[in-house]
Amino acid sequence: MSHTLRTTLLFAGTAGLIVLTGLLQSWNSALVILNMGLVSAVMALGVNLQWGFAGLFNVGVMGFVALGGLAAVLVSVEPVGEAWSAGGLRLLAGLVLGAASVVAAVLAWQRMVPGRLRALAVVAILLLGFVIYRAVFDPAVEAVEAVNSSTSGFLGGLGLPILLSWPVGGLLAAGAAWVIGKTALGLRSDYLAIATLGIAEIVVAALKNEDWLARGVKNVIGLPRPVPYEVDLQQSDIFISRAEGFGLDPVTASGLWVKVNYGILFAVVLVIVFVLAQLALNSPWGRMMRAIRDNETAARAMGKDVTRRHLQIFVLGSAVCGLAGAMMTTLDGQLTPASYQPLRFTFLVWVMVIVGGSGSNLGAVLGGFLIWFLWVQVEPMGQLLMSAIAAPLADGSALKAHLLASSAHIRLLTMGLVLLLVLRFSPRGLIPER
C-alpha cells in the first residue's frame, strides 16, 4: 500500500468513527469529540515538534497547556477595578522585585570572580530579595483576595477579545519553556523529562493556590466566547427559520451550531500550525534539526550549535502546546485548575504522538483525533464489558458494584496497552516519518 493511500485510508477511517458516533449516539457528542480532537491535534503537533523533530523528551505538556488556559483568563476577563485599587499595583511591584532579585543574583554570578565571596553574595541577594518580595507581596495578596472573595477576589484580566488569548497563551508557554530549557537542555535527555515534569506540577500548583491570579480552585467561570451564545440564537428569527429548514428544533440546532463555529475556528488554527510545521520540517532548518536528532555529535562537528537549536525548538513546541491550552479553555468557557491531570494532559498527548508516528506531522494530527476518540469512547465500552463480566454475579454483591464502579479506569489500562503495542509492533507509528 502506498504511503498516500494508507494515510488517506487512516484519516477516512478516523473520520468514519466520528461520523458513526454522530449516527449511533448523537451529533452533539460527535462534535464534542471533533472539537477536542482538533485541540488535541494541535497539542500533538507541538509535542511532535519537540520529540519528532528534535528528540526532546518533554513530559510537562500539562504545564504549558495550563499556562495557555491562564492566558485565556488574563486576556478575556474584565479587570476587577476594586481589586486593582486594593493592592494591584503593590502586588505587581512585589512580583517585579522578586524577579529583579533573581536577575541580580544571576548577574552577580556571571560578573563576579568565582570564589567564596561570589557564593556568599549570590545567597545574600537571594535571601534579601525574598524577604523584601514577601514584605511587599503578601499584604497586597491579602487585600486583593479580600475583595468580594465569594464572587471575585482576583485581579481579573484585561477585558480583551478571548481570541487574542490564543497567541498570548503561546507566548506565556514559550516564556516558561525558555526558562526550563536554559537550565535543563544540554544535559542528558532524562533530566529534561524530570525538569518538565516538575515545572508542570508547579504551574498547576500555582494555578490552584494563587487566588489573586485566577481564583485558584474556586475556578473562573463564564469566560467570554468568540462565538454566539445558544440563548441568543434561539431568539433570533433567522436562525429559527434556518434550523427548521434542516428539520431541527432550535434548541438542538443552536447547540450544534455553536460547536460547529468552534470547530471552524479550531480547524483554521490547526491548518495554520500544520502548514507551518510541515514547511519547517522540509526546510533546511528542519533537516538540520533531524540531523541533530539522529547524530548529535556529527551535527556538532559540522558546526551546529546543538544546545541553541534545542532551546529554539523546545520553546516553539511549548508555545504550540500553550496555544492549544488557550483554545481548550476557550472551548470550556471556564478555567478549572483541579482538572489538570498529568495522565490526561501530558501522557495522553504522548500516546497520540507515538501512535500517530513520531516525526510525522500528519501522524500527530491523526493520533490526536484517533486517541481522543478512543479516550472518550473506551469508557462506555468499558461499562459494557464490565456489565458483561458482572452479569452472572448476584445483584447487590459488593464485587458487582465494585466492578461496575471501576469501569472508568479501563481507560488508563487501554491507553497503556495501545502505547505498548504500537511501540512493540509498529514503533514508527501509524503514519511513519518519511
Binding site: 533530566y191 508547579i202 495522565l343 500516546v351 502505547l419
Partner: protein
Amino acid sequence: MDLLNALMVLMNFVVMPATAYGAQLALGALGVTLVYGILRFSNFAHGDSMAFGTMVTILFTWALQGIGVSLGPVPTALLALPLGIAGAALMLLGTDRAVYRFYRRQKANPIILVIVSMGVMFIYNGIVRLIVGPDDRRFDDGERFIFTVRDFEAWTGLEEGFGLRTSQAITILTAIVVVAALFWFLNRTRTGKSMRAFSDNEDLALLSGINPERVVAVTWIIVAALATVAGVLYGLDKSFKPFTYFQLLLPIFAAAIVGGLGSPLGAIAGGFVIAFSEVTITYAWKRVLEYALPEAVAPDGLVQLLSTDYKFAVSFMILVIVLLFRPTGLFRGKSV
C-alpha cells in the same frame, strides 16, 4: 529552658516527620537508582510500582484483619508486607518478560525504554485503580503512638514535647534494616558483586561469564521489595491514594538525581536532603521562633517560607540547583 522548648517543637514538627519522609524517599530513590544502574533507563513506572506493591499489601492486610489476625500494637500490614513484595516482584518480573526484555535484546535507545515505562505506568495505574479505586485508603491499625506529646511533657515537665508515632518509628527501623541488608547484599554476596560489576561495565561483566538475565531478574526483585516497602511505609505514615504515589515520582527522582543517579549511597543522601528541605521550607516557624527568640523580636506572621501546596516546588528547586552546579549529583553518579 525556652531553647529546650523550641528544640522540642522542632523535633515534633520538623525532625521526626522529615526523617520518616526522608527514609521513605530514600527507599524509593534506591529503587530508581538500581533500575538506572543495571537496566540503564529512568523508570517512570516506579511510583506506580510502589502503588501496586502497597495495594497487594493492603489487600492481604484486610484479609488478615478479616480473619482476626493482628500484631497487637504493631500494624498488621507488616505481616502482609512479604506477600505484597512477592506480588510486586511477580508483577515486575512479568512486565520485564513481556515488555522490557524485547527492547533490551534490541539494545534500544534508553529514551525509548523511558517511553515504554510510561506505557507500563499507565497500565499499573489502571490496574491499581481498577482493583482498589482512586480514593484514599487507610490500612493502619495497632497503637498510633509509642509515646504522645502529653506523655513526654509529663515525664520531663517541659511546656512542649514531642510524640513518637508508631509509623515513624517503624519507618526508620525498617529503612535501616532494609538499607543494611541491601548494602550487605551488594557488597558481600556473589550475586550482589555481579550486579555491581554489570552496572560498572556491562561488556566486561558479560566477558567474565555473568548471566545478564539473572542480574536483571534479581534487580527487579530487589526493586519490587524496595518499592513495596517504601510504598507501605508511606501509606502507614500518611495514607494510600494511587494519585499521590504517582506524584511521589518527582521527589523520588529529585532524590536520586541529587544523590547521583546510579549511586545507592547517593539515593539515601538525596532522599534526606529532599525531605528535610521540603519540610523545613514549608513549615511555619512561628512557634519555634517564639521560644527561641526574645519576646521583643518574636515574629507576628507564621514565618512560613512557602505554603505546603508548593512542596513539589522545593524538590524541583533543589533539583535545578544540583543540575546547574553539579550535574552528576552529590555522590558522582554515572550520568552526565
